[in-house]
């Protein structure tokens, strides 16, 4: 009888937790939901009742037609994809390497680099926009995707290093030592022992890194605003006019822009769940 009490207590706690999380989820998902339903409606229906679901009378794909057939949506989309994927790749690669170096080896300047990385987390990169633009123009990188990629790598690295360091610290010392006894070189230890073991953490970092990059408007606007290099968030702006806004197209392109984020998230979230370290030691 006595031990029923904590159970009840736990259940109440779980209920509260779930209620809070559900509320948060609803609030977070509501705007996305509104964007998606309205992208399938006629312009008139959007304005008449923005919260109504599309009905046979109000259903329309005019926004998607406009976006997919009469604009350079494909180009914007692939620009965004290239920038995001390349940035994530290098953030993960360099992030993990820096984290490994900082945690595994003690060398001169180790502390200093650690402090610089921590400062990178606290200071927003946008404060440096003017000098970044300066730098990019002297490197002749303005209006190229590389400008964006370089900035996003810099932007993503500090948090990546911070998170990955924590995980690398948890890899048992004996594993690396066993590898060293096996004659495995340091670089190979990193790629064949450490990286496979911190894959869940790298998935987390990938998600954290991708979202701000995919959604960013600031740097595309400043560093690569020319026609051929616009990312999706910037490309959408062409439908928003000073006098008329083509809401059908805006909503349709936003809906389409959600898809890759969703796909990447699904891929990575499967990694997040996987507990790879079990069975390593003991």
């Amino acid at each position: 009888m006595n031990f029923a009490l904590p159970m009840k207590h736990n259940r109440g706690k779980a209920l509260v937790t779930h209620a809070v999380l559900m509320t948060y989820t609803l609030i977070a998902l509501f705007p996305i939901f509104v964007v998606i339903i309205n992208s399938f409606k006629t312009r008139k229906a959007i304005f008449n009742d923005p919260l109504a679901l599309p009905t046979p009378e109000t259903f329309s794909l005019v926004g998607f037609e406009e976006v997919l057939l009469r604009s350079e949506f494909g180009l914007f989309f692939s620009n965004s994809l290239i920038v995001s994927v390349v940035s994530i790749f290098f953030v993960l690669l360099f992030g993990a390497m820096i984290a490994w170096a900082l945690t595994e080896y003690s060398f001169k300047g180790n502390m200093l680099i650690g402090i610089l990385v921590a400062m990178g987390i606290m200071i927003p990169i946008r404060l440096g926009t003017v000098s970044i633009l300066d730098l990019m123009s002297s490197l002749h990188l303005v209006n190229t995707l590389w400008a964006l990629i370089l900035v996003y790598i810099a932007q993503g690295l500090p948090l990546a290093v911070y998170i990955l360091s924590e995980f690398i610290k948890q890899v048992p010392k004996e594993l690396k030592e066993a590898a060293r006894c096996d004659g495995v070189g340091e670089i190979k230890i990193f790629f064949t022992i450490i990286v496979p073991l911190i894959r869940p953490a790298m998935a987390t970092v990938a998600v954290f890194t991708m979202i701000p990059i995919w959604n960013d408007l600031w740097f595309p606007l400043i560093l690569a605003p020319s026609d051929g290099n616009q990312t999706i968030t910037l490309g959408v702006q062409q439908f928003i006019g000073q006098y008329v806004t083509d809401w059908n197209s805006v909503l349709a392109s936003l809906t389409l822009a959600i898809v890759p984020v969703l796909i990447l998230y699904i891929i990575f979230s499967r990694q997040l769940i996987r507990g790879l370290t079990s069975g390593a030691v003991k």
Binding site: C181, D182, G183, A280, V281
Partner: protein, 380 residues
């Protein structure tokens, strides 16, 4: 030949000295066990030999080659870790073959090697499994297998059995002993379990606070501990220590007055003794008898009885509150609260001087190993 020679090996972390000059001479094919209390530097010493930590001072030779500055893989040593340290994302086959693959051996050779080792260790049916799909004992075997396939000159084991349950520990201990016979390799084995030390070791090295306290065959340590520390460390239950004073000095023995007033003899080297010296009498629980038939007698009251079946342990208190343990027959009917007269042979007594150093025993028992005894009997 892969002798291992340690010459005044020292290790410090920052300005904390962990090892204070270790000298050891390990012959090819010897099974050497390092024992000592937790934190005395056993693992540190093993890691220095493996090359996982830098030697602060001193020389390490393996097979007459100075290896201080060689990386682990080049020293011809293989280490088995207490936590097994299997690569969690590789199956057993890959775990065992990774070192060979790195060394650039060809596939057929690797397969043969791994299969052979797996067979010896009875894990050939597990090769496709991941470490997390194995039991503790199986993981331990894989860890040993990973060491074997590399044909090391020296095996290093760091408390390999401490994560196993009691039954498995005994079984694996026996198997490690057999493995040593089969491979004929040099093994350096760290443990804090003295049964492991006594049963496995050709030679036991007792360490205490970063120093080698004594080094010898198991029975040498048991019969002739040179310090009070070793005497207390080897043997279970622990040797009893009773404070005493030298009452008189005879040609081949001392007469001692124990702290509870009892007078006993001890057959030890008397040359360094003076009358009235403060000494410690050491007597093992198994050398005590419940009857008063063995010559040297002490009276004690029983404060606790542990019945193990084949034997019973009596926890005794002397009149001056000194605590003692004795091992007696499992059929003993002595109970708590009784006062009994216990006795021991003067030959079985150990005596330590005020500095904790042992006086050499004159009439100690056998110190020869089974192999030596067999050889001697064959000659005779």
């Amino acid at each position: 030949m892969a002798d291992v020679k340690l010459n005044n090996i020292k290790k410090s972390y920052g300005n904390v000295n962990i090892l204070h000059g270790i000298d050891l001479d390990i012959k090819h094919g010897e099974f050497v066990v390092l024992v000592g209390a937790s934190g005395c530097g056993k693992s540190t010493l093993l890691r220095l030999i493996a090359g996982l930590d830098e030697i602060t001072e001193g020389e390490l030779q393996i097979g007459s080659e100075l290896v201080n500055d060689l990386p682990p893989a080049k020293r011809g040593v293989a280490m088995v870790f207490q936590s097994y340290a299997l690569y969690p994302h590789m199956n057993v086959l890959k775990n065992m073959s990774y070192g060979l693959k790195i060394a650039g051996k060809d596939k057929a050779f690797i397969r043969k090697k791994v299969q052979q080792a797996a067979k010896t260790l009875h894990i050939d049916h597990l090769l496709e499994r991941l470490p997390r799909e194995l039991s503790g004992g199986q993981r331990q075997r894989v860890a040993i297998g990973r060491a074997i396939v590399r044909d090391p000159k020296v095996f290093l084991f760091d408390e390999p059995l401490s994560n196993l349950d009691a039954a498995l520990r005994v079984q694996t201990r026996v198997e490690i002993g057999k493995l040593h016979q089969e491979l004929g390799a040099t093994i350096i084995y760290v443990t804090h379990d003295q049964t492991e030390a006594m049963t496995l070791g050709d030679k036991i090295v007792v360490m205490n606070q970063g120093r080698v306290e004594q080094c010898g065959t198991p029975l040498e340590l048991y019969q002739h501990p040179i310090t009070e520390f070793v005497a207390g460390f080897i043997g279970s239950p622990k040797m009893n220590f009773i404070a005493a004073k030298v009452q008189s000095i005879e040609a081949d023995h001392l007469v001692l007055r124990l702290s509870n007033g009892a007078i006993t003899k001890a057959f030890v080297d008397v040359t360094s003794c003076n009358l009235d010296d403060d000494v410690t009498l050491g007597i093992r629980p198994e050398n005590l008898s419940e009857d008063s038939d063995l010559g040297e007698r002490i009276s004690a009251s029983v404060s606790l009885v542990e019945q193990l079946g084949e034997a019973s342990y009596l926890y005794l208190t002397l009149s001056d509150a000194t605590e003692m343990v004795m091992r007696t027959s499992g059929e003993s009917t002595t109970t708590i609260g009784e006062t009994i007269d216990i006795s021991f042979n003067a030959e079985s007594a150990h005596v330590f001087n005020a500095d904790g150093l042992a006086l050499k025993r004159h009439r100690a028992g056998n110190t020869k190993s089974p192999a030596e005894l067999a050889r001697l009997k064959a000659i005779a």
